[in-house]
Amino acid sequence: MAMDKDKLSAIVGSENVSEDPDLLATWRQAGPVSGGEPQLLVRPRSTAEVRELVKLARAEGINLVFSSSAPPRVRGDSVPAGEAVIVDMSGMDELVRLDRRNKVALIEPGVTFERLIPEVDKAGLKVLMPLLPKRGKSVLASALEREPITIPKYHWDMTDPMLCTELVFGTGDLFRTGSAAGPGSLEQQWAAGGAQKNPMGPAQTDFVRVVQGSQGTLAAVMWCTLKLEVKPSIHRIYFVPDARLSRLSDFTYRALRPKLGDEWLILSARQLATVTAEDPSRVDELAAQMAPWTVVYGVSGYEYLPEMRVAYQEKDLAAHAQAAGVMAASEVPGCSAKRMERILASPSPEPYYKAAPKGAFMDIFFLTTLDRVPHFVSVMEAEAGKHGYPPERVGTYIQPIQQGRNVHLEFTLYYDSADAAKAGELFTSASQALSEAGAFFSRPYGPWADLAYARCPDTVAALRKVKDMLDPDGVLNRGKLCFTREVV
């Protein structure tokens, strides 16, 4: 692939082109994905520059890999399959607009959680958080990748909390989705009272859904609007520890149907200890003291009669807990409710919380329904057993989404350098076994793409047509997902 530095410099300025090997190194390998050969990095400053880059890529056959977050990289989606120019969007980091009345922010790709949270907080609002995103993580990229948020009642549909977007397709065409599509520029729409809150459209298209989960293979996202919610005036966190996941599932189903609670997640002892440990070296000790499973939930009061709201929610939740045979507590070993509240509202401390206890980790995650979780847990345990992998080194995180209709189920394999090979083997065989057991790898990173797409040849055929339409020359993150021709 010809990498014409001069032509790239002509678009973004020579100061925004880099071939520093140390800088590029972070795109060579991530998680289970390796083999990236990033040649150059460019830092565009505007949509116009990105469009020019795409046009150049089409003319010169360049592979563009868009990336918005800071390292370390975890999933491997931005590790190129072979040579590439990395398009580093982290410099486009403006919080363009924050609208308190309509509870929405318009953000560029480089806006991180640590940057956005205090601004939003000042406005009396809150960011809908995934669990402990790593520092430097792009908020836009998190939503674009459909990372689950921890408050299921605000997760109405898979696009949430992303609303409207500006896209540059692989054709170089500019497009806007949702109500941002117009008529009118953003400024004209704001003057008319618009806030880019309707995520659907324009008209009979819904390209935001097509671009979400596409790992940068169909379009670059220049900005998005993000749904925010009101900051509670009272917020209490509870823990419901129990030995039996079935009881906690029953409690969860009972509570989420009537939209009770705010945050709602279920963690295994290992995962809860990892999330909460102030000192990572104490994770083993804490995990040993914790119940095998814990529901963590929040209850909030807002502007009107907050105490009364919290009181009825607590009472109704207590009734559901009793019916399910479980009981709420205000702390777990090593973590108070107050501390958990802070954890749920913050990005991860440094180093990234999953890397802290053993130095390294690998995640396996997919979608399913809550009632099927025990089945997958036993598949995972069996696989760990087969590989002689200590079961206590596997953490489990269950995140209800779509208001409780689905869950994001995540297994984290914690390992140190001595265990790396064993963890790698377990990752591969467990991914395969879970897929065979019915895991839906809806975000198929790295090796999961082959597993996921082998199950759905008709979807693959349709997606390839979409790829041909939006990126006919294959200039965007080549070789990812099912756009490799060899999968099925």
């Binding site: 949509t47 109500s179 400024e187 008319a192 309707n198 008209a203 009107y304 009825y312 979608l367 339409m469």
Partner: protein, 558 residues
């Protein structure tokens, strides 16, 4: 629809093609009898063609399963025919727009295939209607989103192919956003399953692996039959804390239903628009409401007692009470899961309303009103009443967005309508007749301005197309997507104002339908519009909007 689409001459189907259709579904389920076909051709609702007819299909088929639908579509491909799906056929949208269309009437596919009680979704076929789904869901403590068109409509049609607006959207979202999976017969006859279903993993997740094909199948509006036929879909269900069976006697306005224990029905009124707006935002932030609508009091009277409205509207004082004193109101239904919750909700509502200088009347407990209201709101049963005043009605919808913009649209619509009422072009419903709703606790709002007319009055019929254009131009001026984005007459003008969306729709149509077998009249076709009947002032504004808003190569003009 325009008079362009009126049937001038009838095309017929070849015997060979007809035999293939018979082979696909069985001879007793195909017809080319003119009398039968005309049954599908009379489509007066939301049709601004004064003639009210749409094109006559060349045949109608009634398949019973997905495989038969595939065979029908393949036969159409082989014989150069087009096809168009018809689920419950409520409105002009299921009508054919070409001369060689086979109407695929899906009424034999009417089952609820599954209700997953725990994970709160149902899998249904096209002719299962909202009322049936709701009744079955309620038995399990669940409820189904019913669009404002009423309980006779197909939830599958609105979620996969139409819109999906309803006043329960505040708690139960919007058709498209409730979709968890779909089985889709593509225009070439192949089947595509959307989401986890295609991986053999069931109906629970609509997106992926990777990009979501849901974004191709539809947008804020559906493809209206232009991209194939959906034979099954999975839809979200929501919590229902009421009884499993609603004990009801009588129908529609005579219906008497015992109100559920924890349900309250509040009519709220405010002194001005600002206080109403403020209250709506506060209600959203307080996460109140199971059903929310702003429907003018005059519109209620017009719906339930049109003659009464005609009489009182002649009296200035009554007119003023309805259109001024009670103008800034909304209707809100609260449903609690426990006694404590309903007490809390009512207390919050009271604080919000009184804080804005408003007043609220709880009418569920009023013997004369409560029992009548329950099903008319929960099941949207009252909707056919909208036809009573003049026989027909139409609507003007603009982009669903922040509530404030929807109120602007309501006010704009009222002004436009008043002019047409003054010149005798539509019925006098006091002009302020919006149907407004909230989605997802006021994440965004909805407003459409309804107008009624007498289908036997030539002056009314002549108003329809000019009104359609005037409302569309008004939406453009307000930076809102007009309803006419789905209309072949204005696509050519509007698409370049919105990122040339129709160029992408044409591409989608082409890659899914190389042989052009689907009837794309309501999806991506463009036809010329005769603007000679439109006010010169409106035409001028349209020209100005085209110059001001059309995207250049750089994007939207600033």
């Amino acid at each position: 629809m325009t008079s362009e689409t009126m049937t001038q001459s009838f095309e017929t189907i070849s015997d060979e093609a007809y035999r293939d259709l018979e082979a696909a579904v069985g001879a007793e389920y195909v017809s080319r009898e003119p009398g039968v076909l005309d049954g599908y051709t009379w489509q007066p609702t939301i049709n601004d063609d004064p003639a009210k007819w749409v094109k006559r299909p060349v045949a109608v088929v009634l398949p019973s399963c997905t495989e038969e639908v595939q065979e029908v579509v393949r036969a159409c491909n082989r014989h150069g025919l087009k096809f168009k799906a018809f689920s419950t056929g409520w409105g002009v949208y299921s009508g054919c727009t070409y001369d060689n269309v086979v109407q695929v009437d899906l009424r034999r596919m009417n089952r609820i295939l599954e209700i997953d009680e725990k994970n709160m979704y149902a899998v249904i076929e096209p002719y299962n209607c909202g009322a049936q789904l709701q009744a079955e869901a309620m038995k399990l403590g669940l409820n189904a989103h019913i669009i404002g068109a009423g309980p006779a409509c197909s939830p599958l049609a609105s979620a996969t192919s139409g819109w999906g607006v309803g006043w329960d959207g505040v708690y139960m979202s919007y058709g498209h956003r409730n979709l968890l999976g779909a089985e889709w017969v593509l225009p070439d006859g192949e089947v595509l399953r959307v989401g986890s279903l295609d991986s053999g993993l069931g109906w629970f997740s609509p997106d992926g692996p990777g990009p979501s094909l849901r974004g191709i199948m539809r947008g804020s509006a559906g493809a209206l039959g232009g991209l194939g036929i959906f034979t099954k879909c999975s839809l979200k269900l929501y919590n229902w804390p009421g009884p499993p069976h609603m004990k009801t006697e009588g129908v529609m306005l005579d219906a008497q239903t015992e109100p559920p224990e924890h349900m309250r029905f509040h009519l709220c009124f405010f002194p001005d628009r600002a206080s109403l707006d403020e209250a709506v935002y506060k209600m959203g932030e307080s996460e109140l409401a199971y059903i929310f609508t702003r429907t003018a009091v005059g519109a209620y009277v017009n719906t339930f007692a049109p003659h009464l409205l005609q009489n009182v509207s002649r009296t200035r004082a009554f007119r003023d009470v309805l259109s001024k004193t009670l103008k800034w109101g909304c209707t809100i239904i609260l449903v609690g899961n426990s006694e404590d919750e309903i007490v809390f909700q009512e207390a919050v509502l009271k604080e919000i309303v009184s804080g804005q200088g408003g007043l609220s009347m709880e009418t569920m407990q009023a013997a004369a009103i409560g029992p009548m209201m329950v099903m008319n709101f929960l099941r949207v049963s009252a909707i056919p009443m909208v036809f009573r005043a003049g026989g027909l009605f139409s609507t003007a919808l603009a982009r669903n967005e922040a509530w404030d913009t929807q109120m602007d649209w309501a006010e704009k619509g009222e002004k436009i309508k008043q002019r047409w009422i003054d010149r005798g072009g539509i019925l006098d419903d006091l002009a302020d007749n919006p149907f407004m709703a909230l989605y997802e606790q006021n994440t965004w709002g909805h407003c459409e301005e309804i107008f009624q007319y007498n289908a036997r009055d030539p002056k009314h019929l002549a108003s329809l197309e000019p009104l359609f254009v005037e409302f569309s131009v008004a939406a453009m001026e307000m930076c809102m997507e007009p309803l006419s984005v789905t209309d072949a007459r204005l696509r050519e003008v509007i698409s370049p104002m919105m990122g040339h969306y129709n160029e992408w729709q044409k591409k989608i149509s082409l890659f899914l339908d190389a042989r052009r077998a689907a009837d794309t009249g309501m999806y991506c076709d463009e036809v010329d519009i005769d603007l000679s009947k439109i006010d010169p002032e409106i035409r001028e504004t349209l020209d100005r909007m085209v110059a001001k808003l059309t995207w250049s190569e750089e994007g939207p003009p600033s």
